[in-house]
Subunit: 402 residues, 2 copies
């Protein structure tokens, strides 16, 4: 039978989708397994089928798949040259997922579990990528879907979630309280709130690690740069590599470098002060909205795991993020959101701090698309449109093309 | 040596990227080949490598790839049920491409050719998906990139192209004249304008057909529904299936159903009147901007090919398009643009017109993401946000969840 465990205090629990947290330390729980001898089935088209042996799923219901995962790993040749990096830099492009963010991998596993468990109602607390992802998979599965939004969520952003037919509820009140209450109410009335650190979401994120392992020719990257919001994504990626190690596929884990925006960086601040837990941020101020999480539920766990496995947290400013976003687009053709751009900004900062280290390779996890929020590009103000009358077009092009 | 030909009047030409049109009938030219014995190399990760044998490329330069293609084919189980369709309906999800549209397959081949031919400057005439795609691949390849926009192109849309660092030029004047002049100026000053019907773009679109063939278990779909703008995409898809037939992989071609929006449907109108060429539309009026092309360069060719191979053109209204867009999102979790939604709207209309036909299967080609233009979703006005205070959340959820 499936068990869940706390990676922080090593307690074992019975699974309870309505309260996936440790009763001792409040850390999010993970699916716990001692199973060994897991196999890959790379001939399968979907990533859930390819890596089923590593997932807590007895079968894959293909009716619920949206084509998640199988995202490209792109080598950033031009940025390597610009940064004079004597090592390969790769981008794992999670924007290629069905709703254009990494969240789809997690939601895909959540939905398998929900439908297998005869659950008819799902929900999430989010204003961004997780809202759209949950609404899309909820639609595909024909479940009633409830998206709880902060009251200041822009109508623009909620449109691209509402289009999937989910119930959108804008909640006036404390966001931390909303997160907590979602579980209490969910349990009472039977709505499975698959929030950011849900154990099945983390199972989905493991698959990214497996794909990177194969895309690099069956090895782990030496350094992995990951944006950190709730902390769930980083923990899921680490779980993936831990399982590869346990199964003997790799000997060394990647060094995980977690990135936050300076304007909302509770885990970075705790890291820098050698604390074992985070202090919630009062006034988050960053344009990297997708990682602007003032009180990350997996904060304590991320700190512990990074200490344990030789990782690190780095904070980057909005200015550094905006520059990195522009560089990824104009050198590599990748238009990602500001949260994703923290990976490049962080790599640059990490190299300044560690000029002597020459990694074998570095992988940047590009978590979401720049299309979902154009305002940072607009604010940067570097894009100019040249107006020309048709008879003067040749002259204009000649002068630009020189 | 490579030759180009006109599928309409069967003339053979020397390749000239600066003028890829037939001097007799103005139809766009295609890459012409009598080569047989082409092979698939499915073990390769990128689609250009998998299908290289079918492409006019002597080698694939991996530095120029962005992870295009390899997009999912999703079965639309819930819509099949809703429509009471006694056959499988699939969506080929081209939104999973690097810049979220099918254009990336074409641009990927264009860029290979440009770099192999030492071309340093590329361009395109577009305000939408092709602009972003060309700018992204131009950035990846380090080429100077010129995007010519209509003067009324919204700043919002140009932002997501400008972010890649391309030169954006807004041209005041006739759009047809701009299209024509782009080639003349390009030839003079050495800018390769890879516009919608460029022969190498069409080579890229062939790969979609090959993928569908394999995803269906090595067979062609009986019906294929494709949005039609310039006509290049449909011609490219047909070329793919023609090559599969010539090589003996399939015996029957799919029936191609081309879709246009009633507010700008020059090819549908010519089809309905049994004309052999289109009459340009004066005042295009549709929210399906991606296919609002008043004078499709491949219009005459599309008409000829559909007559020849048993296809058809169908027009759908904006109302039908908006309904289909909402259905694809809320039943299947696919948030596509209005142009893509013509495929579902068209399938529904085609079934009303042909109630006796029971296809083996139908494939809808979903060409681009709904994220690039949220206004049709906003205008439809069906999305409501329910405001609730935190203490009343349980009550609100109970009433909604019943």
């Amino acid at each position: 039978m499936e068990k869940w465990s706390c990676l922080n205090c090593e307690m074992i629990y019975e699974p309870d989708i309505y309260f996936p947290f440790c009763r001792q330390c409040n850390s999010p729980l993970i699916v716990w397994s001692k199973k060994k001898g897991r196999r890959f089935d790379l001939s399968r088209p979907s990533c859930l089928e390819k890596f089923k042996s590593f997932l807590p799923l007895s079968r894959i219901n293909k009716n619920l798949l949206l084509g998640e995962g199988n995202t490209p790993l792109i080598r950033l040749f031009r940025l390597e040259k610009k940064l004079e990096a004597p090592f390969p830099i790769y981008a794992k492009n999670e924007m290629a997922n069905p709703t254009h963010s990494f969240k789809d991998r997690g939601t895909a596993v959540v939905i398998q579990k929900a439908v297998a468990g005869q659950i008819k109602k799902i929900g999430t607390v989010s204003t961004g990528n997780m809202a759209a992802s949950t609404a899309a998979y909820g639609a595909k599965a024909g479940l009633k879907t409830f998206i709880l939004l902060k009251e200041d969520a822009s109508f623009e952003k909620t449109l691209s979630t509402g289009v999937y037919g989910a119930h959108l509820i804008s909640v006036k009140g404390d966001y931390g309280g909303l997160f907590k209450q979602s579980y209490e109410i969910g349990k009472k009335i039977g709505i499975y709130f698959a929030n950011s650190c849900d154990p099945y979401r983390l199972e989905g994120y493991k698959l990214t690690s497996f794909e990177i392992y194969f895309q690099l020719g069956q090895k782990a990257p030496e350094y992995l740069f990951v944006p950190v919001s709730s902390g769930g994504h980083l923990v899921g990626l680490l779980l993936g590599f831990l399982e590869l190690k346990r199964e003997g596929y790799i000997r060394q884990l990647p060094h995980f470098i977690g990135l936050q925006a300076r304007g909302c960086s509770p885990i970075v601040e705790a890291w820098e002060k050698n604390l074992t837990d985070i202090i919630p941020v009062k006034n988050p101020q960053t344009l990297a909205h997708a990682i602007s999480n003032p009180s990350p539920p997996a904060g304590r766990l991320v700190l512990k795991l990074l200490y344990q496995y030789g990782g690190q947290m780095i904070g980057v400013t909005d200015e550094e993020i905006m520059r990195a976003q522009a560089e990824l687009a104009s050198f590599e053709g990748l238009f990602c959101d500001p949260a994703s751009a923290t990976t490049l900004a962080g790599l640059k900062k990490w190299r300044r701090l560690n000029p002597e280290v020459k990694p074998r390779e570095a992988v940047l996890v590009i978590t979401g698309s720049g299309l979902k929020d154009l305002s940072p590009v607009k604010e940067r103000g570097k894009i100019s449109l040249i107006p020309v009358r048709l008879p003067c077009l040749e002259e204009a092009l000649v002068s630009l093309a020189l």
